[in-house]
Symmetry: C2
Subunit: 519 residues, 2 copies
Amino acid sequence: MRKLVVHEVLADAAYQYTNGHIVSGNHQFTYPEIFVRCLKLAHRMIDLGIRPGTVVGVMDINSHRYFELKYAVSMTGAIIHTINFRLPATDLGYTIRHAHDEWLFAWTGFGELAKSMAALVPNVVWLGDLEGNSGLQYEDLVAEGSPFLPDQASKVNEDDTYSLFYTTGTTGRPKGIRYTHRQMLMASLQIAHDLGLHDTGAFLRADDVLMPLIPFFHIHGWGVPFIAPYLGSSLVLPEKSSPAEQWQLIRQNKVTWSNMVPTQLYTLLEEQTQENVELRGLKVLTGGSALPLGLAENASKANISLSLIYGGSDQLGTAISEASGLDGVERLVRLSSRMTPFPMVRVEIRDEKEQCVVSDGKTIGEVWVQSPWIPQGYLDETEQTQRAFHDGWFRSGDLAVRYPDGSFYVMDRLNDAIKSGGEWIAGSVIESIISEIPGVHAVAVVARPDPQWGERPIAFVTAENDVSSQVVEQYLYQAVVEGRLTKFWVPNEIQFIDIMPITSAGKLNKVALRQKKLT
Amino acid sequence: MRKLVVHEVLADAAYQYTNGHIVSGNHQFTYPEIFVRCLKLAHRMIDLGIRPGTVVGVMDINSHRYFELKYAVSMTGAIIHTINFRLPATDLGYTIRHAHDEWLFAWTGFGELAKSMAALVPNVVWLGDLEGNSGLQYEDLVAEGSPFLPDQASKVNEDDTYSLFYTTGTTGRPKGIRYTHRQMLMASLQIAHDLGLHDTGAFLRADDVLMPLIPFFHIHGWGVPFIAPYLGSSLVLPEKSSPAEQWQLIRQNKVTWSNMVPTQLYTLLEEQTQENVELRGLKVLTGGSALPLGLAENASKANISLSLIYGGSDQLGTAISEASGLDGVERLVRLSSRMTPFPMVRVEIRDEKEQCVVSDGKTIGEVWVQSPWIPQGYLDETEQTQRAFHDGWFRSGDLAVRYPDGSFYVMDRLNDAIKSGGEWIAGSVIESIISEIPGVHAVAVVARPDPQWGERPIAFVTAENDVSSQVVEQYLYQAVVEGRLTKFWVPNEIQFIDIMPITSAGKLNKVALRQKKLT
C-alpha cells in the first residue's frame, strides 16, 4: 500500500496471499476472489450514484457481504455507517436520519425491522434472500459490476472520513462518531501488533484462523475484517449463529482465535461439550465490560486462553491485558483485569483537578487517553465533544487505579460508580468476587440512594436456587477477612432476579437495574 | 503519542516502561532516566542555535550517546545526518559538505579522522574522552540543559525531515536520502510487527533483550533504537567491541536478539566457544547481502535462529524470510533465502518491459517496491531519482524470482549479475553452493568479459589450504547432477585469494574483484 486507506489492505492481500480463505455460510473465497467481488460491487455503486462523502448505511450480521461492503465503500470514497441493529427501533431510526444515510444495505433476515428502516432512506439494496421484497439485490450488483479498480479509489486519502458509528450511551440519544481511514486502520492493526509482540492470552499470529463474534457494526468488529487480510489469515464469519453452531464452526474450520464480550463468552461456555473442552488453545480477546474472575476460570478450564481489551467507540482500542513471565492463577488474575496500553497509546489516570493520581494500585481516578487515532469528537454535539475531547486527549468517563508497573485496572464507569460517604466504591470489584461463588450465573452491583451515605451498593444476582443471600454475604465477609474487599464495600442488600437486563452492546444494563424496585 | 514523530516514542516509553534498561559500556539507564538526558541535551542544543532544519552530523559507534542524539535532535526539529564513518575519507568529507552539516557530534575514538572531518564544519561537539582536544564536550551539554520538553518539540510534524543518510554506491559518489519522521518510524516499527506476527527465525517479543550490531548510521541500525523503547525492551549497545567481547555482552546481559550483516555473523561464529554454543535461542536478523546456506547451517549448529531481511537505504525495510509450518533443513533453506514482504509492502518482480514476471521460481526480473515509507528520491540527483523512483514505486536494481506462494528470492544486484549468452547468471546462487564446501571461508562470483559469451562467471574463494580448484569444481558438478545448478552457470575459473575485499557497508566488494587481475 502507498497510504493508510482501507481498501489498500485488501488490494495487498489479493496480490500477496494465496492461502487465506474467507468462509461465510456456504460461501468460501480466497483473497483474490473476494477482492474481485469488491471491485465489481464498487463499480456498480458508483454507477448508481454513490459519490465521495455519500453516507451508506449497512445493517447486516457478520457475513462476507458486510466484509465486502467495508472495502467496496472505501473504494468509492463514500462513508460507511455501521448501523447498530440492536438499538431500540426509535433510536435506530434516529441514527439513520441523523447520519443522513442516502443508501441502506439491509439484510432481509431482519424482516419487519429492516423494512421500517428502509422506509427512511431514498435508496435500498437488499442483502440475502429476497422473498417478496422488491428492489435492488446485492448479488445482482456484484454480478453486474466491472472487475477493475475504480478511478475514484486512488483519490481517497488517509484523512478522509471512512466510517460513522453511533455510541450506545446509557443516557440520552446515541452520539455519532466519525473515523478517518487512517484512524480506523491504525487502531485496528495496532490490536494485532500488540497481540503479536506481547505475552497476552489472545496472542495472535498470521497462521491463526480468526472468527469475530463482535458484531461488525461495533468498531468494525474490533478491526478483525482489516486484521485478517493484513496478515493473510483465514477468516470465518459466523453470520447469525447460536452458541452451539459457533462451536461447530470452530471445530469445522479449526478456528484458533476469536473475540467476544464476556456475555457471549458466558453463553458459549454454557454450550460447551466434552468434545469442545478437548479443543487445544482457543484464544479469545474479550472486553466491553469487566471480566469476572469466575468466568475467566471457567474459560481456562475449557482450554480458552483470554485477554481483556480496553477501549470504546469514542477512543477506539487503548489497552490489552498481558502477563509476561506469570503462570497459573497469578497469570489468570492479571489477564482478566490489568491493562497495559498498546504501543503508541498514552494512558493517564487523573483526579478531579486533572492531575495524575499516585500509581499505588489504590487511588482511583479517571482514565484519560492519547493516541494517534483519537477521533475528532461527536457529530453535531459541541457540548459533549468539549466535555470529552481536550487537546488531543479523550476523557473516558471510566474509573481506574494505576499500579507501579504502569498497568491499570478499570473499575467502573464514572456514571455507574457508587459514591458512599464521599468515597468511591467500584461495583465491578464486588461483582468479580460474587461471581466466584459456585452456582452464581451473573451479578451486577449498582448504587441505591441512601439518606445517611448518599449512595450504597446493592447487588443483583442470578443464581441456582441453593444460593441464598446468606451464602453471598458470608462469602463477601470472607473476602473482607482475606483483605480482598473493604468492609465498607459489602452491599447493603443482595437481590435475586431471574434475568439480567442487557444493553444492545451486550453489557449489563445498570440503568435499568438502578430503576428496579426492590422486592 | 499523538503523531508519528520520533521523540514521541521515547516520551511514551519514559512514561510507561519501568523495567527496560539501556546498557552502554559502564552506563546503564532506565527509559525515564535516558529521556531526561535527551531533554537536557535538546535544550542545550537549542541554546547553542540548533534550529528546525539545521543539519546535525553524528559520527559515533553504537553507544548511548548516539541513541540520545537520535531523540534529542528530533526534539529540536533539526535533521540528523548519520555519517557513515567507514567511507573512504574523501567520500566522508564529500557527504559532510554535500549535506551542509552545520554541527558535527564526533566520537574522539576516531582520532585523526574525526579531527579532519571536524575541520569541515563550523561547530563541533566531542563525544567520549577529550584527551588534548579543545571545544564543546557532550557530557557538559547534557549536564547544563534543562530537563523539560522544549517548546519546539511539539511543533515537529510527521512529514518533516528527520534524518539524512548517504548510500554507499559501488559506483559514483554517495547519494543522499532524506527520511521523514513518519517514514523512519513506520519502516522501523514494521520490522518489529512483521517479526512479532509471523513465523520467522528472528521472532521478536517485548521481553527480548536487543543488541544491534548493525551500525547506527545505517538506516538507524535497522530501526532498533526506535523498536526497543516502543516495546519497552532492554537494549544493549555494543560500542566498539570485538566478536569475543560481543559474546561476553550477550552472556552478561542475557541478550536474546541481535542484527548483523552475514560477514559479522561469520566472524562472530568464528569466535564461538563451547560456552556460547550452549546459549539457548539467540535470534539474529541478518541481511544486506545474500546469506550463504553454509553460514546459516553453522549458525544453526550454534543455536542461532536466523531470518534474512531485504531492503536498503533507498527503500528502507521491505521483506523478511519466514517459514510457517516448516522444520529442519527445509526451514533453514527457506529462512536463509525466501523473502515475504512486510504487511503494507507490495513487491513486484518485473521484466524489462515493466510487466510482472511469471511466479514460477525461475523467471528472473527486477524487484520493484511500493510502501508507505518509500523516500522521495536522492538529494540533488534528479536524473538518478527519476531512474529509481516512479509513481510511488522504487526500482531496486536487484534481480529476483518469484514463487507461486508469493515469496521471492533475491539473486543479485542488476549491476553485479552476469549476462552470459543473453541469459542472466546469478552469482549469489553459485556462491551459496560453494560456501557449503568444508574449509571454504568466503566466496564471491563476479563477471569476467568473454569474447564468445559476452560475460562468464569467475569465483574468488578464501579457504583452508586443502581446498583446491578441483574440489570446488567437483562439488559444483555434483550440484549440477542434483539439479541445484545449471551446467552453464559453473564458473570458468576458481581463484584462491587471501583476503576478501569488503565495502564500507560490510558487503563483498565485487567492483574490486572484477578489476582484480587473474593470477
